[in-house]
């Protein structure tokens, strides 16, 4: 822990999580290195999304701790964790349906910069936020749809906006819950290719089912099964790991 460059950015220590009688995690230990592009894979019900929610604070563990940047954040609210630098996307799009992408991004940026307190100042005077929102739209290929009502956008573009909203917060840790869900294989690859460029200096933790995407874009992989971390390693190690093939790849 003395060298901040090598200490993990995210750690789970003895996480226990139960919903009533249903135990999701018995004793989960997990560490994520700074700057990694790390994939979590595992069969349905392995606890992948629950883990993301424990990290973002939408859920609290029954016992155990979550550490971010070496600091225990288990009792912090989701908002405090966002301010600390954790952002996430949802498996199912979670957007502002009746608003357009431009306004959506300005909302995100205003929250990030603490510019959304009660005031009588028109949004139009927030030039910096509007310009940055615009840069993000261009980066994510949404510039042509800036003023289109979000719910009328094609699914693939909505998916991009979902990622752009989290990315706009300039997080230290970006959690992506199945970013390619619902996209065609080609669209999925395109999204990950863009993400690889955009998030070059961000730590990214993503859940993904498509093994091609995982093996291609992750530099480390964790395999969850039945509420436990089965194994962690490089894509090559995972691909050839006997137990992974057994519990997950099914061969």
């Amino acid at each position: 822990m003395t060298d901040p460059q090598n200490s993990p950015i995210l750690e789970a220590r003895d996480l226990h999580m139960a919903f009533g009688g249903l135990v999701v995690f018995e004793r989960l230990n997990f560490a994520l290195g700074r700057g990694e592009r790390h994939a979590i894979i595992g069969p349905n019900g392995a606890g992948k999304t629950t883990f993301v929610s424990l990290v973002t604070g939408l859920l609290r563990p029954t016992s155990g701790d979550v550490l971010f940047d070496g600091r225990v954040i288990t009792q912090e609210t989701p908002q405090q964790r966002v301010k600390a630098g954790i952002a996430r996307t949802f498996q199912i799009n979670s957007l502002f349906k009746a608003l357009n992408p431009l306004a959506s991004l300005v909302i995100a940026l205003a929250q990030r910069d603490g510019r959304a307190n009660v005031s009588l100042r028109s949004v139009s005077r927030e030039r910096k936020l509007i310009d940055e929102a615009n840069e993000l739209l261009v980066k994510f290929g949404l510039a042509g749809d800036a003023l289109t009502v979000t719910e009328t956008l094609p699914y693939g573009k909505q998916r991009l906006l979902e990622v752009a909203l989290a990315f706009a917060l300039r997080p230290q840790l970006l959690l992506l819950d199945e970013p390619a869900a619902g996209l065609s294989t080609a669209q999925g690859h395109e999204l990950f290719r863009q993400l690889a460029v955009l998030t070059a200096d961000t730590t990214v933790l993503f859940i993904e089912h498509d093994m091609n995407l995982v093996f291609r874009y992750a530099d480390r992989v964790s395999v969850f099964a039945a509420g436990a971390l089965v194994v962690q390693g490089t894509p090559d190690q995972i691909r050839t790991h006997a137990r992974v093939r057994e519990v997950y790849l099914g061969t």
């Binding site: 009660v118 100042r121 949004v123 615009n134 840069e135 800036a146 003023l147 863009q194």
Partner: protein, 334 residues
């Protein structure tokens, strides 16, 4: 998902123009306020009725901040109208007769109680929210109704005196001063509300209305914002109640009855939510019809209001103002 090479400057200009356009006054807005001023000069105009319309419009606008912009329904909004109304009444009765300061005090009091209510309901949503707001309204009504020694009960608060506005304009029996006073106060508060909903805070309210979970994951202080907007809406409702008391020199428990809470909700829904103007248009339709129908059939006028609601839902599901916007939009595109 093309690789991005398009120049950012063109879209940046577009983006800035979009927000500038939202802030700009449209010709319709200018015409609307000009028409309200113009009514004053129409010979034999029914100014007391127009004054009521403006006050109800302000009241409905305050509910719009909650319901239209933040998505918080309330069945008890008359509680704040009544608090403002009684506060202004007591001030006038016990010697604080200067109207503008009286109005500010009444609105602040309603705002403080609204803030406390907001603290109470900031985690509540949906049906439970309707129950809590209705419950608080009923409790307040019952207190005012029963404490007749203090409030005059059903007979209302008597002996309210209001000094001339700015020491110059006496409230006259033709309702001329009352109309201009109500209009001026309403316009000032409208300007505040307009700036508020077009500020980043207003945008955050819309975001929370659309998707509270996403707002949490953007780090937004959702609960604090609910409390804030509740306090502001309550203060505006209180101001509306205060203006009504001051211009009529009377306030009774009907000011904070459940019926009033229901009426303001109906007015806002007829006019359309999330537009600020919906409440005014709704008030115009509602009060005009009530005035007209009450003459035709004094007993059954609620029947016609009911029918109007049913017809509204069939033909203008989103209320009058949004339906007109859609219509104008379509005509322009042709």
């Amino acid at each position: 998902m093309s690789t991005i090479t398009e120049p950012a400057t063109a879209t940046r200009t577009l983006a800035n123009q979009y927000f500038a356009g939202l802030a700009r006054w449209s010709i319709w807005e200018i015409l609307f306020w000009a028409a309200l001023v113009g009514l004053f000069f129409v010979p034999d105009a029914n100014l007391p009725l127009y004054g009521q319309i403006v006050i109800w419009g302000l009241f409905a606008m305050s509910l719009d901040l909650l319901l239209g912009y933040r998505g918080i329904p309330s069945l008890g909004h008359a509680a704040f109208f009544g608090i403002g109304g009684y506060a202004a009444g007591y001030l006038g009765k016990f010697g604080w007769t200067e109207p503008i300061s009286g109005l500010v005090i009444a609105a602040l009091l309603a705002g403080i109680i609204g803030w406390l209510t907001g603290r109470l309901i900031q985690r509540v949503s949906g049906i439970a929210l309707l129950m809590v707001t209705l419950g608080l309204n009923l409790i307040l009504y019952d207190i005012v109704h029963r404490q007749s020694g203090l409030t005059g009960g059903d007979d209302g608060l008597q002996g309210i005196e209001i000094a001339p506005v700015l020491g110059l304009f006496r409230f006259d029996i033709f309702g001329r001063t009352a109309y201009l006073y109500a209009l001026a106060i309403t316009f000032v508060l409208f300007l505040v509300a307009r700036a508020l909903v077009k500020s980043p805070f207003g945008l955050a309210l819309l975001g929370a209305r659309e998707n509270p979970r996403r707002m949490i994951m953007l780090g937004a202080p959702l609960e604090r914002d609910v409390t804030t907007v509740f306090a502001i809406a309550a203060a505006f409702a209180g101001a509306a109640g205060a203006v009504l008391t001051q211009t009529t020199q009377f306030v009774s428990p009907t000011a904070l009855s459940f019926q009033r809470s229901a009426d303001v909700l109906v007015i806002l829904i007829i006019g359309g939510t999330g537009r600020l103007y919906g409440g005014f248009v709704g008030a115009f339709v509602f009060l005009f019809l009530r005035d007209w129908l009450a003459e035709l059939s004094p007993v059954y006028w609620y029947f016609w209001i009911g029918l109007l609601l049913v017809v509204m839902v069939a033909f203008f599901r989103n209320g009058i103002v949004p339906s007109l916007e859609t219509l104008v939009g379509r005509l322009r595109r042709r």
